[in-house]
Symmetry: C2
Subunit: 589 residues, 2 copies
């Protein structure tokens, strides 16, 4: 801590000396005394307080600059010399603002919904950036060992929301995560960058593997390649965490093999230590339908990548696996009106109408659609069941009804109050997937309604209900099963930021990068007469005007790029100029 | 929470409702309002507040009983029915006090030092009992995952201080710890009683073994047998944590083999993940002299147990191991004026006069003596070096000089301020060992001076220096290398309680249980003209009067038991009556 402009009249670094014994921030002794006494921190609780005595004549003003940082004193002194003037500090602040605004300009939208615009243009993107930077390390709620690292699945998903904003950083983060994958194909649960030594890490003990960790790569890696066109990334050779190495494509195949090699009684992937939902205790050989849908999604993505790279044998392998996998999903995944959540090791299903509690789970409905596993009629019925059983005015519940009688060895959710977090709370992370699924099905009205239900800005006038910031996403919101319906908890660092941003920009607005170009495929409320998007894509600027004169929810009739019609809905990269004007018309129903 | 006697006028279970937003415990809104509003806790921060409106006439009184507990409501109701009268509650409180006083009467002393008496008779014993009960789980400082379990080495040592008070509980705890030992001989770092399944636990990953964990059994198990005479315990068959089973004697042998099988370049035991001092990073194959002395101690104790049980082959094995081990200790442990602390994997010694920082460590001097490894002259020189380099008026420093330049990969101590905790602080846990070592050498004056230096009651008039309770031990005290010399931190739950109690009762006062009887072997300041001890031992009461007319520090001239002279200093168990009068005279020098 340092100050320039104004003589330093005293400082305090020991918090108790500043606040005083048996006092609090409400009445610090040092302020009452009016004089700091120059204490130094030496263990215990530190603080930073600088006193400057100023006398101002009427109308006069003075600038005081306070610099704060953590590090060695000699570095601090160099920084004070370099940055220690108000003008320089102002310049740095302006540069920082400029950088953030520059990033936020990667994607701008103007729709009829002002709240939606604010979220997409500023806060959701900023939220995703902060989550990418901090992971879960900066929390008033979660602390202690294990919270000082990059959790594997969180971190991989955190890249998804910022791929369009900071692709280079995303690539570096993905390389870290790919080299955090063991040669088994499973992933190290946590990565500590300062002690991450790819190729030399101890392999993860078999019982500590989560079943979903490495499967998130099938969302993150293709997103990076689609944004940048960097298909060579798939050929990049990277070490595994413990030993050996492979191309990124090889890493992806090992990830699939990891789950395909670990299947249970119905031939579906085991949940291992846990899948996405830590609370569910399936038994190590219990089977997770969520993971099954992730594997299906992974196989499909893998086949597409292999096709793209001309790796016919790899593509064929994936398609053969798919052909063997899908019948198992159909035979053991469908419950009649929706998809099951899991088969416990002891043969009991979770998320079935046969269950008394936890009859239906959200994630296996949305992922059945996202993965392409659901047949058309199943997809419709599953998402209708979501609306019927899980919708509330503040978002979709994770499951219903809540657990109140279950054995805590079956699900830890029973340890939570009904309507909170994993126990039939509105778990924000999952909302984006449901929105995306409804967009895939063409349900623009419902997707938008679900999106707005949990959109922070929509709660702007209900602070007394939400109780947290109305501009960032949070971990979860109390559902109608709770006495605090609508109260939200644990804002900022949540996988919600990533997926909500994708749901809004790529599914509702439908501006989706692909390796070959930019896809235009909105799915919106019929009442929207149109919207405008300004997007940066591979260094080019696109001004996209979507017109919806017929009030449709989905379906593009005609796309014009720089005044000329395009065949289909993809803006081919080869036809993009430095600046592009795009006009799209919604099709008549 | 429940109340009887006085109508309940309101309650509050949601803390924010009681305190109010932007308020603190200094000005709770509910108190200002004068009326509680019956909130229920539903997540977030709970509290328990009951309001009763009482009007008392002059001279009148009323009893209100408030019951608090955690658990199911139906259990709470049963308890309220059973205990919900002031008379019953008073009876329970009296019974609790009676039980604690009964335990504390196991050992009572009256010496010329009132502070010493208070510590031994009440507070040190109580401190040890609380530490046994809570382990390290009840702390304002340490929280989070890994702090919710019984740490192996802490827990084994915690039994040592309470063996004389609650031997049956100690036996059960020791059985838990013995069944927490893997079949490798190493120990599971942490035991969670509610999920401890001996014989079925996953074996500890090789790289997670601490080198000292199971070696503390050589202090705890013999202490239990000596207190109770229960030599059959050594024959009790108990499972290992992971698989297989053995007698307690077999467990002890595996513990020794574990370390003997894991030796480094000098044939000394490896430090593995860590020895007692977590801060030292020796490298996995670096060698710890502290552990070497523990192994030597263990071999000696094992040979004695084997002799006691008539297991000649076992005794011979241990003595052969000792004969092979001692020359290595002499060749690679002695630094010329004191004993080294460790050999790092890269060949660099720690705790050597060749070091610039951390030249001398306390624990390898005290343990060289306690283990019998030090030859007579080495023992004297090592403990003299302790006095010369490590003594301060508030206790002995863990090492000196502090680390300020070292690489944090060599010792994490460099991350702590000089003079604190493991970086040349006064680490309380270690003080008892030094006192015990000086007692073994006959240095009664010095042992007592070292003991008083860190004895909480001796700080009674220096609260502004000590800053914590003057009646319980703490983790550490700032040493003269710190700006807060004498300030103590982290009171209550520390291994200090156990070893200080042993040092005071068994080494300074010298009343030491052995399988064959009670040993009388004090080591005191010459100025003490005598002292009286009242001890319970195997159900019998001994009133022991120690007379020291010649002002010696050590050496017993004559022992009388119930009026008849005893040969030597052991009161044989066979000659003890229900109540016994013992008189001991210090010998002329």
């Amino acid at each position: 801590m340092a100050q320039t402009g104004g003589r330093i009249a005293g400082h305090e670094c020991d918090r108790e000396r500043f606040i005083g014994r048996y006092r609090s921030y409400r009445n610090p002794e040092a302020v009452e005394r009016g004089q700091l006494e120059n204490s130094e921190a030496y263990g215990d609780d530190p603080c930073g307080a600088i006193q400057s005595d100023l006398e101002l004549q009427p109308g006069a003003s003075a600038d005081i600059l306070v610099l704060m940082g953590v590090g060695r004193a000699d570095v601090g002194e160099r920084i004070r010399e370099g940055y220690g003037t108000p003008a320089r500090a102002q310049g740095e602040l302006d540069a920082l603002k400029g950088r953030l605004h520059g990033l936020l300009e990667s994607f701008g939208v103007e729709t009829p919904d002002e709240d939606f615009n604010h979220m997409v243009n500023v806060w959701n993107a900023y939220n995703a950036l902060m989550t990418f930077v901090w992971s879960r390390a900066c929390s008033l709620v979660y602390t202690g060992e294990g919270r000082d690292a990059f959790g594997y699945r969180d971190t991989v998903q955190d890249t998804v929301g910022v791929t369009g904003l900071i692709p280079e950083e995303v690539r570096r983060r993905l390389e870290m995560m790919l080299t955090g994958q063991d040669s088994t194909g499973g992933a190290q649960p946590q990565i500590r960058p300062w002690q991450h030594r790819p190729g030399q890490m101890l392999p993860t003990p078999a019982h500590e593997y989560r079943s979903d960790d490495a499967l998130w790569l099938f969302d993150a890696v293709p997103a990076y390649v689609a944004e940048t066109g960097d298909t060579g990334f798939y050929r990049t050779v990277l070490p595994y965490a413990d030993r050996g190495e492979a191309t990124v494509l090889g890493h992806l195949r090992r990830a699939l093999e990891f789950n395909l090699e670990r299947t249970g009684a119905h031939g579906l992937p085991c949940g291992l230590l846990a899948d996405w939902n830590d609370c569910l205790k399936l038994g190590f050989h219990g089977e997770s339908l969520f993971v099954a849908f992730q594997v299906r999604h992974g196989l499909r993505v893998y086949a597409e990548i292999a096709d793209l790279l001309g790796e016919a044998a790899e593509s064929q392998w994936a398609r053969e696996q798919l052909a063997a996998f899908d019948p198992r999903l159909q035979a053991h995944g469908w419950d009649g009106d929706w998809f099951l959540r899991a088969w416990r090791e002891d043969g009991v299903p979770l998320g079935s109408k046969r269950c008394e509690e936890g009859k239906i789970f959200l994630n296996t409905q949305s992922w059945a659609v996202l993965s392409g596993a659901a047949m058309a009629e199943q997809a419709v019925r599953a998402m209708d069941a979501v609306e019927q059983h899980l919708e509330t005015e503040y978002g979709l519940m994770l499951c219903a009804p809540p657990y109140e009688k279950a054995d805590h060895r079956v699900t830890r959710a029973v340890l939570m109050n009904p309507g909170t977090k994993e126990n039939a709370g509105i778990f924000s992370h999952t909302q984006g997937w449901a929105v995306m699924a409804d967009c895939l099905l063409g349900n623009g009205e419902r997707a938008y309604r679900h999106y707005r239900a949990y959109m922070p800005a929509a709660q702007n006038d209900r602070a007394e209900v939400r109780e947290i910031e109305p501009f960032v996403h949070c971990q979860s919101t109390h559902s109608r099963f709770s006495k605090k319906f609508g109260a939200s908890r644990i804002p900022w660092l949540s996988g919600t930021a990533s997926w909500s941003y994708i749901a809004a920009t790529q599914y509702i607005l439908g501006i989706r990068p692909e390796v070959a170009g930019l896809r235009i495929d909105p799915c919106i409320p019929g009442a929207w007469k149109g919207f405008d998007v300004r997007r940066r894509f591979r260094g080019k600027i696109l001004e996209i005007r979507i017109e919806n004169p017929d009030g449709v929810q989905k379906g593009v009739r005609r796309v014009e790029l720089n005044g000329r019609a395009i065949d289909g809905t993809l803006l081919p990269i080869g036809r993009l100029e430095e600046r592009n004007a795009v006009v799209t018309l919604g099709q008549r129903r």
